[in-house]
Amino acid sequence: MGRSVLHDVIITLVVSALLIWLLPLMISTYTLTVLVIYGMLGLSLGLVWGFGGILCFGQAAFFGLGAYTYAIAAINIGESTLPMILAVLVPAVFAALLGAMMFYGRLADVYLGVITLVVTLILFKFVNSTAGPQYVIGNARLGGFNGIPGFQTLNVPGDPAAYIWGDPYFYVCAVALVIVFLLVTWLLRSSFGRIAVGIRENEVRMGLMGYDVATRKTVLFAIGAAIAGLAGALFANWGEIVTPNLFSLGQSAEIIIWCIVGGLGTRFGPIVGAAGLAYLKFMLGQQSMIDNTLVLGLILVLFVLFLPRGLVPAVASLLNSIFGGTKRKPKPRRMRRARHG
């Protein structure tokens, strides 16, 4: 066990170092930065959904909450360290409260999806209707539909004048993603993670074995939200503006799609799905022959029909079949069907 952990960590570090070195040669770092941020956002849902079995329609709420918390705190404080911390904490606390409300109420499946969806919509509608001058937090106008531009962006801790932007900012984000990825790996290998997977597979059995299912789900949900919040804060720094669109239903759906396309139940899949689809969108915008909405839609449909398990598991099993059965076979991870009636 100890050796295999080390093995995993080393492989992760080597691969990510290679990627961080090679990718900027092909894609501009500015675009890469947002791909990395989306990757982190994908990972956050990949964790709670793929490993915890919690289908969250509202991951965008935590993303947006992180971004807005950062923007508002940065305007009021003027130095980026504390706002970054707050941007992780506020979504986590919010998720813990929401999660506690849902999981202690034994909400599951689609019902859980609807609650998270509804909470996202409430946040979206609220932020969207704050255009008036009466909506102020400290010095920060919430700005409604137009969002908040012009806040202090990331600086070297303690020195507000030393901005981190451009290439260095990409490296900051990339390293942050690697750290988060390693933390997620560690979490999943810990007993907490194993029990979480157990709860995903059979909640009743785990409950009967004496595990406190509701608390564990709440904690996992909050961890996912914290990661999404961090991604949100990084996104705010990258775009230098936050708008209510971050909370939108479309954004939430996109995160879900990233996870399915990349491969649910893997750590790497959601990251690949997020970065890949976001880059695809970026590429599509450079042509004007066909309507881009149409192209994106077609790709999604074809994907579901022909590659239903997602990219990463498909590639993994392909490699497996080529290089023989020495590696352990990826477990088929199918979501349980919603049970009704």
Binding site: G105, Y111, I122, K125, I260, L296, L298, L300, P308, R337
Partner: protein
């Protein structure tokens, strides 16, 4: 007195329109466990079908009540054969596929109709009640949704086709063993669900500014209404549409339309928290 009548009409209209926009989704989700995220786009296409038909000289009521449901039903049928059929039992995959489809439909509608398609005026004039003008078309919507609910109940309860459909949804293996092809029944159900979505879009078309992206406005509301309704198809639909419609219209009139919408959402949270299996998971158990 005049005012309370006007408000009563508006409240009834609020409930009726919720029933209308959720019915198609309720059939598809309630009976097949398929979440059709392209539901809003089906409605959008119903609207365009109506406008096109009226433009070709068809009577507006025929266009709304016959042509639009048929056209959208057929589109649904094609979608079911090409895509959905491969995905039964895979809730999440159908979501992704239908989300993709919704984008495809938006793209297609933009290419075919552009962004400024002239709508159709309401075929029923407004009238004065006391000191107030009332939208006469609201009554039409209320009547359509009442008829719709009764018809759905009659079909499911009273006809052999309804019985077979219900049986298949509960135990498709048993239905197959008795000689009914689940494949064909799913197909017909999806056709009906799509046709209902098309009908809703068509009936609402004279009241909204129809653009290819209009569908997005409905999907969340319909989804919430259907899920909060719970396992019983018709009782769930009617009870949740009534509660949400009442709550949202009350706050709309008391404060503002925005607060009305937020109240609806908060009501959904409270409702699902207290009744985790939806309204009919607790009340009206075993009803249709």
């Amino acid at each position: 007195m005049d005012l309370s009548f006007v408000i009563l009409v508006e409240v009834l209209y609020g409930v009726a329109s919720l029933v209308l926009i959720s019915a198609g989704l309720a059939v598809v989700f309630g009976m097949m466990k398929v979440i059709n995220l392209a539901h809003g786009e089906f409605m959008m296409m119903g609207g365009y079908a109506t406008i096109t038909a009226v433009g070709l000289g068809v009577n507006v009521f025929v266009a709304m009540l016959v042509i639009a449901p048929l056209v959208v039903g057929l589109i649904g049928l094609i979608v079911e054969r090409l895509v959905i059929r491969h995905l039964y039992g895979r809730l999440v995959d159908t979501m992704l596929a239908t989300w993709g489809l919704s984008l495809v439909f938006i793209g297609l509608a933009t290419m075919i109709f552009g962004n400024t398609t002239t709508g159709i005026s309401t075929p029923i004039p407004g009238f004065a009640f006391g000191g107030y003008q009332v939208n006469g078309y609201n009554f039409f919507i209320i009547i359509v949704s009442i008829v719709l609910v009764i018809a759905m109940y009659a079909v499911l309860r009273g006809t052999r086709a309804g019985l077979i459909a219900r049986g298949t949804m509960q135990r498709s293996d048993m239905a197959a063993a008795l000689g009914y092809s689940p494949d064909r029944i799913y197909m017909m159900t999806f056709f009906c669900g799509s046709a209902l979505s098309g009908l809703a879009g068509a009936v609402l078309a004279p009241l909204v500014g129809l653009v290819p992206t209009s569908g997005g406005a409905y999907i969340a509301k319909a989804f919430i209404t259907v899920i909060a309704g719970g396992p019983s198809l018709i009782a769930g639909l009617v009870s949740s549409a009534t509660s949400f419609g009442l709550v949202s219209q009350f706050f709309t009139f008391a404060i503002s339309p925005v607060i009305g919408e937020v109240a609806l959402l908060i009501a959904a949270v409270v409702l699902l928290r207290t009744m985790p299996q939806g309204i009919t998971g607790r009340f009206f158990k075993g009803k249709l």
